[in-house]
């Protein structure tokens, strides 16, 4: 049968492969190459070796963005997952209104980052107006604003995944734990959480990568203000490319560094949590 299928490569694979090559593989390879060049368009590239990378690492804005992104990612990954799990746990206990609550909590996830950013700009500036400041007065406001926004957006999404995980646990397991005299808390930590580790893997992966790569929300909520202090990596790369003449190569080098960090983070996280998953 393989033989019969094999001849149909051109029909089944080629269309996707052409689009994938043109719009992913080629831009990716060119991107790596250009990170070692000075250029303003792809045709006038001139090899400069590691100069762009040196400039990137000694660029204050970039290092600041990196640090801001790391802090933001840590806080948002932890808060989103803890709250989402609590919500999921509570909303699988059969309380009244469960379905309505699930529907409501998930909704913000469907709204795009740009729109979310402006919704929260209104909310946060409204509160801060009472103290005579705005979200761009201090980088602290921007940081916590982004954290709140991100929680609001992703809690419902992660909650849905945790609920699916909890509902997949065989009822007998929890019953058996109860008969053996386990308290609710013990059942939670010894049965429920180990059994939903595959959901934890996915949720950590999604929140980690989404937080680290955040762009739209950052652009709409603060656009990096005040003075680029709240710019995350993706936004810093964008402004290096499009708002600073002659720095395209540095922008591309920053993008490569960004990609390497995302890759390492994702793989490390998958490796560690996959190990903790229970085979069922």
């Amino acid at each position: 049968m393989q033989k019969a299928y094999k001849k149909y490569f051109c029909i089944f694979v080629l269309p996707t492969l052409i689009a994938f090559t043109l719009f992913f593989v080629i831009p990716f390879v060119m991107g790596i190459g250009l990170s070692f060049c000075k250029f303003t368009t792809v045709t006038n590239a001139r090899w400069v070796g590691l100069e762009n990378y040196m400039k990137a690492f000694s660029n204050k804005d970039f290092m600041n963005a990196l640090w801001f992104t790391v802090k933001f990612t840590i806080v948002s990954v932890i808060s989103i997952n803890v709250i989402a799990f609590i919500f999921a746990y509570a909303l699988t206990r059969g309380i009244k209104g469960t379905n309505l609550f699930r529907t409501t909590f998930f909704m913000p996830n469907l709204i795009g980052g740009i729109v979310l950013g402006y919704i929260w700009q209104l909310m946060i500036n409204g509160v801060l107006a009472r103290f005579g400041v705005t979200i761009t007065t201090d980088a602290k406001f921007g940081f916590w604003g982004l954290i709140i926004l991100m929680n609001w957006q992703l809690i419902g999404y992660m909650m849905i995944i945790y609920i699916a995980g909890i509902q997949n646990i065989p009822t007998e397991l929890v019953e058996a734990a109860k008969i053996d005299g386990a308290s609710k808390l013990q059942a939670l930590f010894k049965v429920t959480i180990p059994m939903v580790m595959s959901s934890v893997t996915i949720c950590l992966f999604l929140t980690l990568t989404n937080s680290f790569k955040l762009f739209d929300q950052n652009l709409a909520l603060t656009a990096g203000a005040p003075s680029k202090k709240t710019a995350m990596l993706a936004l810093d790369i964008y402004t290096t490319f499009y708002n600073r003449n002659g720095w395209e190569g540095v922008g591309q080098a920053k993008a490569v560094i960004f990609f390497v960090i995302v890759g390492i983070l994702a793989l490390t996280q998958l490796y560690f949590t996959r190990n903790k998953e229970v085979e069922s």
């Binding site: 996707t16 250009l34 309380i95 309505l100 469907l110 795009g112 209104l122 500036n125 699916a164």
Partner: protein, 290 residues
Amino acid sequence: MAGKKKIQEDVQTMEVSKGTGTVMTVIFAVLALVFIFPIILVFINSFKSKLYISDQPFALPNSDTFVGLSNYIDGVAKTGLIKAAGYSIFITVFSVLLVVLLTAMTAWWLTRVKSKISTVLYYLFVFAMIVPFQMVMFTLSKVTDMLNLGNPVGIIFVYVGFGAGLSVFMFAGFVKAIPISLEEAAMIDGCTPIQTFFRIVLPVLKPTAITVAILNAMWIWNDYLLPLLVLGSDYQTIPIAVQYLRGGYGSVDMGAMMGMLVLAILPIIVFYLLCQKYIIKGVAAGAVKG
């Protein structure tokens, strides 16, 4: 996991007592209100004069501040939102259809044909999933410029290429769970591989296709940077039109902004309420495999 990804609805593992249940319902009702409050706030402010929005967003409109629909009319005129909605719908619908069809075909072939090429290609698609857009944004926009694809039709192919990674990965996960005997029987009955795929495999993949379609639609509908760089300023989608209102430094027309936010959110909420079962199930099913 693969065999029993069926999500049991409302199977309670450990129910709480009635009293605790009521308390929890009340707590979650309050939380739910907190969750939708920002959206309600935008809605309320969309009827207020732009002068009263930034300073007193929490005040209800009164006879001085109420401006009727003028924010909506201003906003639509300033952003060309009607046209933007047209582009957004066109691009999302056709990109999603093409992505789902093409990547299902690709994933099936890559899973069924065991060879070096299929393994290499599969891992290449998986690899593409973790590459951030910033890595390719500049070069991608140059490629689309060179190929003259900076229009609503061209961008569909860009989405097929850039979205292929996740979609192929998800389809491949589910194709592995389909018993091959079905396809063997079809072959014996004289089906060509194309007939086998469309008559046997695709119907079985329908739930996965819905999941992949939902995830791609959520991404493409809300996408900002890719259409901005590929389409330029000639064709604005909804997120681009909203961001466009910001204009130069600090010169945001808050009234128009509120109106546009409502118009941007409304179709999503209506769509969500109509197909929430599919969306929530799709997201959960997608995650089980991820």
